[in-house]
């Protein structure tokens, strides 16, 4: 026993060639976002929805540029024409090309949805982040305000704000932002509450990092997955609300037309020209459908624990 010498070279790593295979790292290391993208790409439904949405977005940008028709270009010689080679989706009672109007509607709806969701995300993250991180009395006050706002019937409150601000895209976006941010704020707060007691944020605190640095460098990036999922589901909700308001006649002003306005305008002629309603109805349903499935796919990809 005792004649074994404890020489240093016994404790050196083996030369590369003699190492057993099981120890080597077979795959390149995968970051969270790469991993999530790989999971998302395998989700056929979500990928299909992404393709549909991309096509709608491309049509929204390209079609009005490629045709000579304008969304408000009236052609009294071609009123209420059914779909044909010259007007793919037909024309309305003023002879306006419905394809072009649907594409302009897509611009409005997508802009409202994306801008409203983005502003919501910023407001919700800052508000929820502060509330969750500081806790105590700050949290109490901030969350009581949210409780009261959530109790308000949001649609009534949006309609009131719209009456006050007038019928423009900006006022719709503002009205939606004033009501929707509360849910994002609550969600971010819950995330931050859970993360702030984790070891890495304690470590950052011990090392003397400032509150802002801990919130924006550690807590927010680590709750990005759920935040993105929440915001993705906000986009269809915002598009739906805009269409609803326009349908009731308090959304976008004529002659501009969002999808809601187009459906509303087509009701009186539904007996004779049903296609005038059909195309905007399909466009809005497809868009909301795609966004919801993209949201589902993102949730499964970004947070596998939440998978249903």
């Amino acid at each position: 026993m005792s004649d074994i010498t404890m020489a240093d070279e016994l404790f050196a790593p083996l030369p590369e060639a003699e190492r057993p295979g099981s120890d080597s790292i077979a795959r390149p290391s995968v970051s969270y976002w790469k991993d999530a993208w790989a999971r998302f790409r395998r989700d056929r439904l979500a990928m299909g929805a992404l393709v549909i949405l991309a096509l709608i977005a491309i049509a929204a940008v390209a079609v009005p540029m490629l045709t000579s028709y304008e969304y408000d270009g009236q052609d009294l010689a071609a009123q209420n024409r059914p779909p044909s080679a010259t007007h793919a989706f037909g024309t309305d009672k003023f002879g306006r090309d419905i394809l072009v109007r649907v594409c302009y509607g897509a611009r409005i709806s997508l802009t409202v949805g994306i801008v409203a969701a983005a502003i919501n995300m910023v407001v919700g993250v800052v508000y929820g982040g502060i509330s969750g991180y500081f806790g105590g009395r700050v949290d109490m006050v901030l969350m009581r305000i949210v409780d009261i706002l959530i109790g308000l019937p949001s649609l009534l409150y949006i309609i009131l704000i719209m009456m006050f601000l007038g019928n423009t895209i900006q006022s719709i976006i503002l009205a939606l932002c004033l009501t929707y941010w509360t849910n994002t704020a609550r969600m971010v707060r819950t995330q931050v509450l859970a993360l702030k007691s984790q070891e890495y944020s304690l470590a950052a605190k011990v090392l003397g990092a400032s509150d802002a640095r801990i919130i924006f460098k550690h807590l927010i990036p680590n709750s990005m997955g759920p935040i993105i999922v929440t915001v993705t589901f906000l986009i269809p909700q915002a598009i739906f609300s805009e269409a609803f308001l326009s349908f009731l006649g308090i959304g976008i002003q004529i002659p501009m037309a969002s999808w809601g306005t187009l459906v509303n305008e087509a009701i009186p002629t539904i007996f004779t020209q049903p296609y005038q309603m059909l195309f905007p109805a399909i466009a809005i349903s497809l868009t909301i459908f795609s966004l919801n499935f993209i949201g589902d796919g993102l949730r499964d990809a970004l947070d596998p624990r939440l998978k249903r």
Partner: protein
């Protein structure tokens, strides 16, 4: 337990107060609104005099505010400033019973279809009921209710001529409006019921019930249902709000003389005092129904006693 109820009651009253304050502020702030300077408006002098006298517009604003609060508290919702001799209370009295009957039928239909569909899709996963609820949920999410209602009207009233288009005079008249109102709630209730049923069926007391030799139907209907139905009951509060906004659309499309149609037409007429008075009414209605549902759930479910 009483503490929880008191807390909810307090929050409800506070929310209502915020809503009323908001409407009061908007009455003053809206350009051409009922309380703003007289020269911006196109309103009969007799109505102006009536409003000025009623709301004591010559008094300081704080006094006006408290007088307004007192009037709302006593149930006076204000007068129309577009139609002479019309009060908001009269419109509510005429329209509310019509809307309430329609809404009640829709709630019953939503529960009668949603709950069994949810149970069936949880018990027989992957079978037809599961597929039906999945398809319904997809439709409920992606097709906005106003589009769906118009499409249903086109199909059943215009194309097939099975059902009447306007009014509410026979049971046949109820079918389409109730369907338009109930499809989204049915799909939501079915999904809610399905997931909560799946959750409950994994519990140990279900295993106990089965091992006692109970028939599967008794296990599901007597043991599982009691606990699984709680989320659906909680949803009844938000459902009231959803049906209210749904009624704006359905009553407009089918020309039903309910309160939703009065609200939408007063938006079209820019009859601000009616809009604001009705907003207070709707808001109070939604907040009170949420409160009742929450308290009932707390009374039924002993687990809720722990919280709050």
């Amino acid at each position: 337990m009483p503490r929880y109820i008191l807390k909810r009651l307090f929050a409800g009253i506070l929310t209502l107060l915020v809503l009323v304050t908001l409407t009061f502020a908007l009455m003053h702030a809206i350009p051409g609104g009922p309380f703003s300077a007289a020269d911006e408006r196109n309103v009969p002098q007799s109505v102006l005099d009536k409003i000025a006298a009623k709301y004591e517009l010559d008094k300081p604003i704080a006094e006006q505010y408290f007088a307004y609060l007192a009037r709302i508290a006593s149930g006076d919702l204000g007068i129309s400033f577009k139609q002479e001799d019309t009060t908001v209370n009269e419109l509510v009295k005429q329209g509310f019973p019509v809307s309430a009957r329609l809404g009640l039928v829709a709630v019953i239909v939503a529960l009668l279809f949603g709950i069994p569909l949810g149970i069936a899709s949880a018990v027989k996963r992957g079978k037809w009921a599961d597929w039906a609820s999945m398809i319904l949920a997809t439709i409920g999410i992606s097709i906005p209710s106003f589009v769906l209602t118009v499409l249903l009207m086109y199909l059943f009233s215009v194309k097939l001529r099975w059902l009447p288009v306007f009014g509410l005079s026979s049971w046949k008249h109820y079918i389409l409006p109730v369907t338009g109102l109930a499809v989204a709630p049915i799909s939501y209730i079915a999904r809610l019921m399905r997931s909560s049923m799946l959750e409950v069926m994994r519990q140990e007391y279900i295993v106990t019930a089965r091992s006692k030799g109970l028939a599967e139907s008794a296990v599901i209907l007597k043991h599982a249902l009691k606990n699984a139905i709680m989320p659906v009951l909680t949803y009844l509060g938000p459902l009231v709000a959803a049906l209210l906004t749904g009624s704006f659309i359905v009553e407009r499309i089918f020309a039903i003389p309910g309160i939703g149609r009065y609200y939408v037409s007063s938006i079209g007429d820019r009859d601000y005092s009616v809009i604001l008075g009705m907003t207070v009414f709707f808001g109070a209605f939604i907040i009170v129904s949420n409160l009742i549902v929450d308290v009932l759930c707390a009374l039924i479910d002993p687990r809720m006693k722990m919280e709050g």
